[in-house]
């Protein structure tokens, strides 16, 4: 027997849709609130001096933290990119080799290690023997970056049709040249996207830096020009995420305002990297890329 329950079913349908609309709106509340607070409280702290003054100077600035973040990210990139590229190439091209399975699983394990535990690990291995340094901070970030970058590289290379590889081999080129100069270049848009995603991800990390780069209220005593000798990298440095943590809890409102300014700057930089990457890739390689 067929019961005519069309009305109740229609009401149920409406109710469910209303609940889902409410969920969509609710999920936007934090974003709206956060953006509003960030801009309204942060914009006041940002002026020209903000970018190159020290936190204790007048007016206050976060110049040393910007520099520190750059140094730490530089180290992380120098370590994670070459290794990540090689590992990604290996996983994509020798997927059936004996080592590929274990490597892939352990990369997944690595990406699951909480950032704070990574910081503790680098503290035990590096800091306990050599002290706090930008180098240690960069190493801890590279440990977070490596699995992300290696896996996105692997996916990027796997997305290149095998005929590209074959066409290269058919030209009479050795396999290594085909891989490094043709396949890798064909996959470059997606590899670059993966790289910038990884940078955006670790650029905001504070937890692994607490016990490694530590923090500082002044410029590195070695000039950045000495970077070729690695000296500036052996000093402890401030970084944007770390000073936000530090200053947000300060009782002085002008220091807290500095934290808001730094937050605004950090979010701005990370969003620029992410959105900028997407736009650049689309512009440079057309819709086919990434």
């Amino acid at each position: 027997m067929i019961v005519n329950n069309a009305a109740s079913r229609r009401w149920k349908n409406r109710l469910a849709l209303c609940v889902m609309v409410a969920m969509v709106l609710a999920s936007l509340v934090p974003l709206v609130s956060l953006s509003w607070t960030l801009v309204s409280k942060g914009i006041g702290a940002v002026n020209w001096q903000f970018f190159y003054h020290l936190p204790l100077a007048t007016p206050r600035g976060v110049g040393n933290a910007i520099l520190g973040s750059a140094l730490v990210l530089l180290v992380a990139t120098l370590v994670a990119v070459p290794v990540g590229l090689l590992v990604g190439l290996y996983l994509a091209h020798f997927a059936q080799d004996r080592m590929a399975g274990p490597t892939r699983s352990l990369l997944d394990v690595m990406s699951g290690i909480p950032a704070i535990v990574v910081g503790m690990f680098i503290y035990s291995v590096v800091v306990q023997h050599f002290g706090f340094s930008a180098l240690a901070g960069g190493l801890s970030l590279s440990m977070i970056m490596l699995p992300i970058f290696a896996r996105t590289t692997e996916e990027a290379i796997k997305a290149i049709p095998p005929t590209v590889n074959e066409a290269g081999l058919a030209l009479g080129l050795p396999r290594r040249r085909v891989i490094m100069r043709i396949v890798l270049r064909s996959a470059m848009p997606a590899v670059l996207t993966g790289f910038f995603l990884a940078v955006a991800r670790v650029g905001g990390e504070a937890a692994p830096l607490l016990f490694t780069a530590f923090g500082s209220n002044s410029w590195p005593s070695h000039s950045v020009k000495d970077i070729v000798t690695f000296k500036p990298l052996t000093e402890q440095v401030a970084s944007l995420p770390q000073i936000i943590y530090e200053y947000a809890k300060d009782p002085r409102p002008e220091v807290v305002s500095l934290a808001w300014g730094a937050s605004l700057l950090l979010v701005g930089m990370i969003l620029t990297i992410r959105l900028g990457t997407n736009m650049y890739i689309r512009y440079r390689y057309g819709k086919g890329g990434a």
Binding site: I160, L171, G172, L173
Partner: protein, 274 residues
């Protein structure tokens, strides 16, 4: 490698018909058995390829045409679980010898694939130049010259000379395929393998490629796989018919088309199966 031992290469061939007069054979395959894993695709194919001529390899889908020409430049072995037995003699040398570097083999034997596959993110210029660059050619003037020559050879120069820095993938399908031919020609091979080069193209693109192949056979030895009987009839000097991994019949195209010896060849040509 030299061309001294042509006769030696010829002497190994047992089942093939003689090459047309005036052309010497430099490439011959003997008793090729090949497959993937448990599956055998080619069951002992022997064939001598005539120089400076177009040899068409025909047959229904799955007969092993593609596998056969991929054995000729050892690209077959790049496929997972692939294996092959037999000998392929090029200028008197067995290129299937495990001691021979396949890289050297492939430099002499160029290949064009079923679907146009220009390197993505490479410009038209770079697509042609990359093989030269990676083989050590550095001077811009040399590269320019060779790129132009290859593109002219592939009858593409007039269409692309003013946009060499555009991506290769921005061209039409037929142009892309000619770009792939130019890319193969740039590294100066002696033999050109084409694996159903027109199957992904429209009739106009197909016609351009066919005209081009007729031009190219003056300088190159061309082996072309096709499932298109009319195409073989139009441009091939010699035609080979494969069925279920076995060579059924081969000979001058005119003979094969007018008086096939094997009833299966006749059935295929008259379109009764395939």
């Amino acid at each position: 490698m030299s061309t001294v031992s042509n006769n030696f290469a010829g002497s190994l061939v047992n089942r093939s018909a003689a090459a047309p007069s005036g052309a010497v054979s430099r490439l011959s395959a003997t008793n090729i058995v090949a497959g993937f894993g448990e599956h055998t695709v080619l069951k002992g194919v022997s064939l001598t390829i005539s120089s400076q001529a177009v040899t068409a390899i025909m047959g229904p889908s799955g007969c092993g045409k593609s596998t056969f020409i991929r054995c000729l430049n050892r690209l077959h072995e790049e496929i997972p679980r692939a294996w092959m037995k037999g000998t392929v003699m090029l200028d008197g040398q067995d290129i299937c010898d495990p001691q021979i570097d396949p890289v050297a083999v492939r430099r002499k034997i160029g290949m064009v694939f079923q679907r146009p596959n220009p390197f993505p993110t490479f410009s038209i210029y770079d697509n042609v130049a990359v093989g030269l660059r990676l083989n050590g050619m550095k001077r811009r003037a040399d590269l320019d010259e060779r790129v132009e020559k290859s593109l002219r050879h592939a009858a593409l120069w007039d269409e692309v000379q003013d946009r060499l820095d555009r991506p290769g993938t921005s061209l039409s399908g037929g142009q892309q395929q000619r770009l792939c031919i130019a890319r193969a020609l740039a590294v100066d091979p002696e033999i050109l393998l084409l694996d159903e080069p027109c199957s992904a193209l429209d009739p106009v693109g197909t016609e351009r490629i066919e005209e081009l192949l007729i031009q190219l056979k003056k300088e190159y030895t061309i082996v072309m796989v096709t499932h298109n009987i009319q195409q073989a009839g139009r441009i091939a000097d010699r035609t080979v018919f494969l069925l279920m991994g076995e060579l059924i019949e081969q000979g001058a195209t005119a003979d094969i088309f007018t008086s096939p010896k094997d009833p299966r060849t006749e059935a295929f040509i008259s379109g009764r199966f395939g």
